[in-house]
């Protein structure tokens, strides 16, 4: 285990895309766990579009990351030292440990994961917050039923790729999208109509609002699942 912890702190609130000067890198000794605490050696950090929102001041669904604070991020890793009755050295865990190599935790919000069941990064994706977002969004919020047409935007992303697949499981038979026609370049196996475009598409659902750099890949991939079974 490295004796130094490196972490990334928010140095300034960005305007537009985050710039290198919006971040500070801090090096410090690896923390020691106090009573009721443990230290995690982090293997993988989750990168999420939502992080951009956490960098803004103002009311939201979660407190903003303060200037000088370690950037908030979900992460997975292994307990390397523990003075906590619920977590032992060697346990694999998920938690909001931040963008750093070693994190001290009191166990709040931390869950144990089983790397034999799925690789650690999967607990940041399909078995993590983004997979859970797709799951509850489709099944609880939208209450998708068999026979319905489901359109997912951002279908190549972490949430969208799972949402498209769950829609297919629940709404059944996927079909080509009547709305979005795109040049196919690497559609996901699960979703016949997931498209990724490198040109500005011509259909009404086409414009990609966030990145207008010429030649950039459009992020607004969309997938559609539709049942052949009448409702």
């Amino acid at each position: 285990m490295s004796q130094t912890n490196r972490r990334v702190c928010l140095a300034a609130r960005p305007s537009g895309l985050p710039k290198p000067s919006d971040w500070d890198f801090v090096e410090e000794p690896v923390p020691e766990p106090g009573d009721g605490e443990f230290v995690v050696e982090i293997s993988h950090v989750s990168l999420d579009p939502a992080m951009r929102g956490w960098m803004n001041a103002g009311a939201s669904y979660i407190e903003p990351v303060e200037i000088g604070e370690t950037m908030r991020a979900g992460a997975v890793g292994r307990v390397s030292a523990s003075v906590h009755s619920g977590f032992a050295v060697g346990d694999h865990v998920y938690g909001v440990f931040g963008v750093q190599e070693h994190a001290r935790s009191d166990g709040k919000g931390v869950i144990k994961i089983d790397p034999a069941l799925a690789p650690a990064p999967t607990y940041l994706g399909t078995l993590g917050m983004t997979g859970l977002t797709a799951y509850f969004g489709l099944l609880d919020v939208a209450k998708v039923k068999e026979g319905e047409t489901v359109v997912v935007s951002g279908a190549a992303g972490a949430v969208g790729s799972v949402a498209g697949q769950i829609a297919k499981l629940r709404a059944r038979a996927p079909s080509a999208s009547p709305v979005v026609r795109r040049s196919a370049a690497g559609s996901l196996r699960s979703s016949a109509s997931t498209r990724r475009s490198t040109t500005r598409p011509r259909t009404s659902a086409a414009p990609c609002a966030s990145t207008r750099q010429p030649g950039s890949t459009c992020i607004s991939t969309t997938s559609v699942a539709r049942s052949s079974t009448p409702r």
């Binding site: 990334v8 509850f136 489709l138 319905e148 799972v162 499981l169 196996r189 990609c208 966030s210 607004s220």
Partner: protein, 119 residues
């Protein structure tokens, strides 16, 4: 049913294609997170009236008490091959974080973007 992760013009376009009784779930709006001007609103929102449709937001944290059951079902679907997990892993450790984060806003990731920081 429209599950929106993008917002902006895509949401506005989707509003023109609603079925009667459609539901829109606002999960995210990646097209707007780096906006330096006012967030672009859905100018076609009256389609909700015409289609007797609804649009609602969601935050996954509200379901924390049920993460366990959902993870079990997602894991089951993975085992059965009904669900394919895509992870896009970036190397370079924490020092690669600033530029790696930007991939999300340039559409450079396929599936879940993850930064590898240690073994």
């Amino acid at each position: 049913m429209y599950f929106d992760n993008v917002g902006g013009e895509i949401l506005d376009a989707a509003l023109t294609r609603l079925a009667r009784g459609a539901r829109i779930v606002i999960c995210g709006a990646v097209s707007q997170y780096n906006a330096t001007e006012a967030v672009r609103g859905p100018s076609n929102y009256l389609a909700l009236l015409v289609s007797r449709a609804s649009m609602t937001g969601m935050v996954v944290f509200d379901y924390a008490a049920r993460y366990g059951e959902a993870m079990a079902e997602l894991a089951q679907w993975l085992r059965e091959g009904k669900l394919v997990s895509r992870e896009h892993i970036v190397e370079g450790g924490v020092s690669a974080f600033p530029e790696s984060l930007l991939k999300l806003f340039a559409g450079e990731n396929t599936g879940k973007l993850v930064l590898h920081v240690g073994d």
